[in-house]
Symmetry: C2
Subunit: 297 residues, 2 copies
């Protein structure tokens, strides 16, 4: 199972409808948070995700709207008796800012919290997926994240059988890539095919950037900020944000399959305007809303 | 107008139904917050109170569940262009903890924030009300707060007229307490009566205490914590909280007019049990819920 849940889709200030920034990726039981604005733990309760079970938090940058929720979340984890370590990723050099979020009732934190400074490249590796960071273009050091599921090898049972592959020979072939069977060398690719792992990309806050295009190439889902409308391009440039059109252009250039626009400024109560602008450039564009759930696998 | 709005009524961890601790007192346009748990600004939006307009925040103590909301609230105020100073009251000695809440985007805070250390006695005085602090009994230094509206003097027009009081003589009499009119000394109390100002008392987190009884004497409303049921008295004692019965007993001894129970532990999804227990001792007891509004005047 690979689900994405939008927990908070507002810009820097919350509205009645939109909570502060956070997205969850839920993959085979692992809950990963991307940003953790104030109120994220309550949004998780609201949308049926257990906040105590979060495995890792990936922070894009340390502006308050993206990180303040960490303070209350770790408190709740501790009160619930969590013992598993929590990993918190933050742009390298900003580790102490995260530490500042843990000052409340420090004595109460009874489980390990590991704060890791992020530079570009692979930052986290699990059994069947990895998370990579790439540099964004904002007012302070900011990173986007790529969630990449491992590619999966599938054997074509019929063909394998025909060539005499059976039992432990499958794993041997998988390891060695080629195997001598009945006087003939069987190559792995003859009897198998590779299903590419799913790829989700999270990019906020940022100006449109080449790094994002590269990171999001062929992504199943690109979550990109769209704080502004095209009429506000000047503001977007000044404040180092993106317009909906700019986000759509990134999705198009990256040949992404789907685009979700988030970090919607409070001034855009009627966010459908942004969606319309984006769809002129990239058809499969959708404005995020709190509680939006995207089922990828 | 004097309204009390329950913004968050949970204990240390939020639930789907209850946000983290905060109450608002709205008095003639002034918005005062008592505690400011995570998500308080969103609760204000939800219940139609402008978070940018808060005049002062009175923090009972610095456990995270009561204070973390300050971080995001001041950020939102700044982004909205607030210029008025914000007063934050916190138990004396814990000023730096509040300061830690302001570390995010400090450069962004473009209005003055005045942090005041609280000791018992009057802590804030406005034109027509004052706020007093009194010591509670919790695991760290904790204060309860009394919101006290000024008493109001009303002249009995008919009687005053009969005794020859008119025009500027009213204010002269009010100032001097007695006035010679037509050869006779008129005492202020002969021609006027005093309407006692309303009194609201906020007491959480705490064991039941004599200080609370004294502070809440004759209160129009006592907001008292009731984290536990009577069957959990041992826990309440250990963790320095109160049971619903204990809170009711405080209200009874203080001859309060109304009791609202708050800081309801997440284990009490069926909070009506607590209400039942409290009402055995004090009839006008009510369990708080998020969004509860009490109109006093």
């Amino acid at each position: 199972m690979l689900d994405i849940v939008a927990l908070g889709t507002s810009g820097s200030t919350p509205t009645k409808e939109r909570n502060l920034p956070s997205f969850a990726i839920i993959y085979e039981g692992d809950i990963l948070l991307f940003d953790c604005g104030e109120g994220t733990q309550m949004q998780m309760l609201k949308f049926g995700i257990n906040p105590v079970k979060v495995k890792a938090i990936f922070l894009s940058h340390t502006h308050g709207d993206h990180v303040i929720g960490v303070a209350g979340l770790v408190r709740t984890m501790s009160m619930a008796g969590r013992q598993d370590p929590l990993l918190i990723f933050v742009p390298s050099g900003y580790e102490s800012t995260v530490n500042n979020l843990l000052v409340f009732d420090k004595a109460l934190l009874r489980f390990p919290i590991v704060i890791k400074g992020v530079r570009k490249g692979k930052v986290y590796e699990a059994k069947s997926y990895a998370v990579y960071a790439f540099r964004l273009n904002h007012t302070i050091p900011t990173y986007g994240y790529v969630f990449k599921e491992n590619d999966r090898l599938h054997f074509v049972a019929e063909k394998a059988k025909k060539l005499g592959i059976k039992g432990p020979m499958f794993s041997e072939l998988q390891m060695k890539k080629r195997l001598k069977v009945g006087g003939r060398v069987v190559r792995l690719e003859e009897v198998s095919w590779v299903e590419p792992g799913k790829k989700i990309v999270y990019a906020t806050d940022t100006r449109p950037s080449k790094e994002t295009i590269k990171a999001a190439m062929g992504a199943d889902l690109l979550i990109h900020e769209a704080a502004y409308a095209s009429s506000e391009k000047k503001l977007a440039k000044e404040r180092k944000h993106s317009t909906a059109e700019e986000a759509a252009s990134i999705a198009k250039q990256a040949k992404a399959k789907m685009l979700v626009l988030t970090h919607i400024s409070a001034r855009h109560r009627e966010a459908s305007v942004l969606e319309k602008e984006a769809r002129k450039i990239f058809k499969n564009a959708h404005i995020a809303y709190d509680g939006m759930k995207i089922h990828i696998r």
